[in-house]
């Protein structure tokens, strides 16, 4: 694609065309500014059928499975690489994937480079290191291709965790940050086209003492009515009201979601139950929607397959961004270039953005990289660490139908308990044990081949001492076929329940992205990642989540099947990636897909990368967007906040440009 440099040059160069970069581009393009996006990945395909077919034929249907570069079957399968995952050093835009988590110590498979855990470390040591749990995409439109669509606001207290509860850090301005962001939250729900039941949101926010204005004000209605709840949701809604967590009464809230409840510019959700990895009909919002709007302004141009590789400085101002182009994923680079503008915006998400800043270390006077006088670039890597619990309902709730999640328990997102333990929201899954056990395949193979990887077909007891064998009249390790197989499978699948706790994580400066000595196919360093869950604050939330799950399943009359993880191994070939012990119990955490914190905003240049305008303290013509700017994870899924902050950043940039 050829770029036409406008006569006055570009006003703004943006690196990355995910939701954050595309929102900034659209806002600026609409205001008549000349914008160039540098996008490392390939363009949005003409039809999403291309990605969908790759998904259908993938053996492991992980969030990344539809998207290039291919994550499985790329090389012949071997014993230590049964899915044929590509070597990240052979790819031009490698990224971290869920399949790499179990192979985290294998540098020929895992894009992130990890050190082995310290020799002889105890399984309950806070110093135990883990694989990071979350992934992202490097294609035009970005990671929202495979997001779920949950679109919640953070709470005022999320922004003042330090001053209110003595934990973590405040966001600049504390709870005022929330109120300043409200109008942008409102605009963000419009950008995404959120479907939500306003009354339910008003009820919820009342319990958190939020003042009604902006999104919840009298004159505001969400773009679309709420998405119909599942049969699953209704069961929880009826039963959990008998329960309290730390004195907070529980109730179910329908989730505001970035998918169409009505036909509009995009199709109405048809319940394909596939929002992650790919919505086949684009009923779900993704970044390509806003990218297309940006390009349609006529003021935004984009370079695809152009990987930003270096940021140039002239004094303390950014003077250009270098990029490397390629044609095919494993082919050689096809050229290099430099783009210049009046302002620069980094929107390459929370791993590739800090990596780019750290790679840019050849500017005189800036040996630690661009925007890094604080030394904070790449630090405070966070996620919502997830606790998963699953069970079988007494009666059919017909799992595996509808969007992957349509409701949650939000009531425990704030409270006095936060001086002791992390808050969480509880996501109610509609997808049976798809995430929990890789169903339907695991239950299927258990009953066809007489295995017991689900605990449904063996002798074990659950943690409440209930026998787990699904049909006590059958022997353990039964092999079924015909009508008996049909009846067993049906009775299991239609009852499968799953809960996911999105636990907030505190900033830890030693959780970080650095540059490793290994490189990708373009010669750019691969990230070295160090990740721990050190705070008792966070670990205590796992203890709570486990207890609460058991109470919820009891209230439902369901039987819990959550598996006790295998023992932690901190050395040898099978180093456990995401399991730790705490207070005599053993937990596995999962990633929420929320990569947060690696170029945070703050109130002082000493300990933050950006001011609250999302502008670099070091270089006033450089802005950054995305969840990397968050000082803490807060309790909502991040993307609505990312969108609100991107809208705000666009206003700040427009203000600067005059």
């Amino acid at each position: 694609m050829s770029i036409v440099t406008p006569s006055g040059g570009f006003d703004v160069v943006i690196v990355g065309s995910g939701i954050a970069g595309s929102i900034v581009a659209y806002q600026l393009g609409k205001a008549g500014k000349q914008v160039l996006i540098v996008e490392g990945g390939p363009p949005v395909p003409k039809s999403r059928e291309e990605y969908l077919q790759t998904f259908f034929t993938s053996n492991a249907k992980t969030p990344e499975s539809p998207y290039p570069p291919t994550i499985q079957g790329a090389v012949p399968a071997t014993d230590d690489n049964p899915l044929g995952q590509p070597n990240p050093s052979s790819l031009n835009t490698p990224r971290y994937t869920v399949l790499q988590i179990n192979a985290w110590q294998n540098r020929n498979i895992s894009y992130f480079v990890y050190d082995a855990p310290q020799a002889g470390i105890a399984p309950d040591s806070p110093e135990l290191t883990f694989a990071f749990g979350s992934s992202y995409e490097r294609v035009a439109g970005g990671t929202t291709w495979h997001w779920l669509g949950t679109s919640l606001n953070n709470l005022p207290n999320d922004f003042q965790l330090k001053s209110r509860y003595g934990q973590g850090v405040d966001w600049p301005g504390g709870s005022q940050f929330f109120y300043r962001l409200l109008p942008y939250y409102r605009k963000a729900t419009e950008v995404i086209g959120v479907s939500a039941d306003k009354q339910a949101m008003v009820e919820l926010y009342k319990t958190f003492n939020v003042e009604f204005s902006g999104e919840y004000g009298d004159n505001y209605g969400f773009p679309m009515p709420g998405i119909v709840e599942s049969m699953n949701d209704v069961l929880y809604a009826q039963k959990v009201t008998t329960l309290k967590v730390d004195d907070i009464p529980l109730f179910v809230t329908p989730t505001p979601q970035g998918r169409n409840s009505r036909p509009g510019n995009r199709r109405q959700c048809a319940g394909n139950t596939n929002c992650i990895p790919i919505c086949p009909i684009q009923a779900k919002y993704d970044g390509s929607v806003t990218l297309a709007q940006a390009l349609q302004t006529g003021n935004v141009q984009i370079l695809y397959k152009a990987v930003a590789s270096n940021i140039r400085l002239n004094g303390n101002q950014v003077s250009g961004i270098d990029y490397i182009t390629y044609d095919s994923q494993t082919g050689p680079s096809t050229g290099t270039g430099t783009v210049t503008a009046k302002r620069y915006v980094l929107a390459a998400h929370a791993i590739e953005t800090p990596k780019l800043l750290l790679m840019s270390k050849n500017n005189p006077g800036w040996p630690n990289g661009v925007a890094n006088s604080s030394g904070q670039v790449g630090r405070n890597l966070m996620d919502h660490v997830m606790y998963l619990a699953w069970g079988l309902a007494k009666d059919p709730i017909y799992a595996f139908r509808g969007p992957l999640s349509t409701a949650g328990i939000e009531a425990a997102r704030d409270g006095a308990f936060r001086s002791q333990r992390a808050a969480y929201r509880i996501e109610i899954g509609n997808e049976g044990w798809n995430w929990a056990t890789n169903d339907p395949n695991t239950t299927l193979s258990d009953f066809i081949f007489g295995q017991n990887n689900t605990q449904l077909n063996g002798d074990s007891l659950n943690q409440q001492s209930q026998p787990l064998r699904f049909d006590p009249t059958l022997p353990a390790f039964s092999k079924l076929f015909g009508t008996r197989l049909v009846n067993a499978l049906n009775a299991i699948y239609v009852r499968q329940l799953r809960l996911g706790y999105l636990i907030e994580q505190l900033p830890d400066p030693d959780n970080r992205v650095q540059l490793s000595s290994l490189t990708d196919n373009l010669g750019l360093p691969r990230p070295a990642v160090t990740y721990r869950i050190r705070d008792d604050y966070v670990r205590n939330a796992f203890v709570s989540a486990k207890q609460v799950s058991t109470q919820i399943f009891n209230a439902l009359g369901a039987k819990e099947y959550t598996q006790l993880p295998a023992a932690v191994q901190s050395s040898g070939d099978t180093v456990t990636p995401t399991t730790f012990e705490y207070k005599g119990d053993r937990f596995t955490f999962y990633g929420a897909g929320h990569i947060i914190g690696t170029y945070r905003m703050g109130t002082a240049p000493r300990d933050s990368v950006l001011n609250r305008r999302q502008q670099s303290w070091d270089h006033s013509n450089l802005y950054m967007v995305g969840s990397g700017v968050f000082p803490s994870t807060a309790t909502a899924n991040p993307t609505l906040t990312i969108a609100a902050l991107a809208l705000q950043a666009a206003d700040n940039i427009l203000h600067d440009l005059g």
């Binding site: 053996n59 798809n434 395949n441 049906n490």
Partner: protein
């Protein structure tokens, strides 16, 4: 009986689904042909021929016409020819998952585990596993907005009818 007829009878016995679901009159996907071909490729023509031959022999000896005829034949087949049980179970898995399984015997505590290879986009969406759960393949539905708030049609509808 031609091999396809026997293959379908065997598949009915294994899967518990009815002929109308596995080999509908108007069979646009013709998944049965893909599966017979895959079965032959994976376990050899000689083995498939012998399994189908044994199926026919046992079937002939069965008295009367019980409604669960195919399942009875499969039970007897597994008893008479135990070496054919595993290949037949792999075929059963293929019908359900649309993928060919590799069964390994570790970890011993769970009596092993199974990996599988998807045969084609069609085989994934035609998998019986979606029907036995009274749903649709993840990523491909013909239902409409909001269907998930109500119970699905009865299981029998999924067992008897084409997609």
């Amino acid at each position: 009986m031609d091999p396809m007829d026997t293959f379908i009878s065997l598949s009915i016995g294994l899967t518990g689904f009815k002929r109308g679901a596995l080999a509908p009159d108007d069979d646009t996907h013709d998944i049965k042909s893909l599966y017979l071909k895959t079965f032959v490729e994976r376990v050899t023509q000689a083995t498939v021929d012998d399994i189908l031959l044994w199926y026919r022999l046992i079937d002939k000896q069965l008295l009367g016409n019980p409604p669960d005829r195919e399942e009875r034949v499969v039970t007897l087949l597994f008893a008479d020819k135990p070496e054919y049980e595993l290949p037949c179970r792999k075929l059963l898995f293929l019908w359900y998952a649309g993928a060919w399984p590799t069964v390994i015997d570790t970890p011993a505590s769970t009596h092993g585990q199974t990996f599988s290879e998807v045969i084609s986009a069609d085989s994934y969406t035609q998998g019986l596993v979606w029907r036995v759960m009274q749903s649709h393949p993840m990523g491909s539905t013909t239902y409409n907005y909001g269907y998930w708030a109500n119970p699905p049609p009865p299981l029998s509808a999924y067992l008897e009818n084409p997609v």
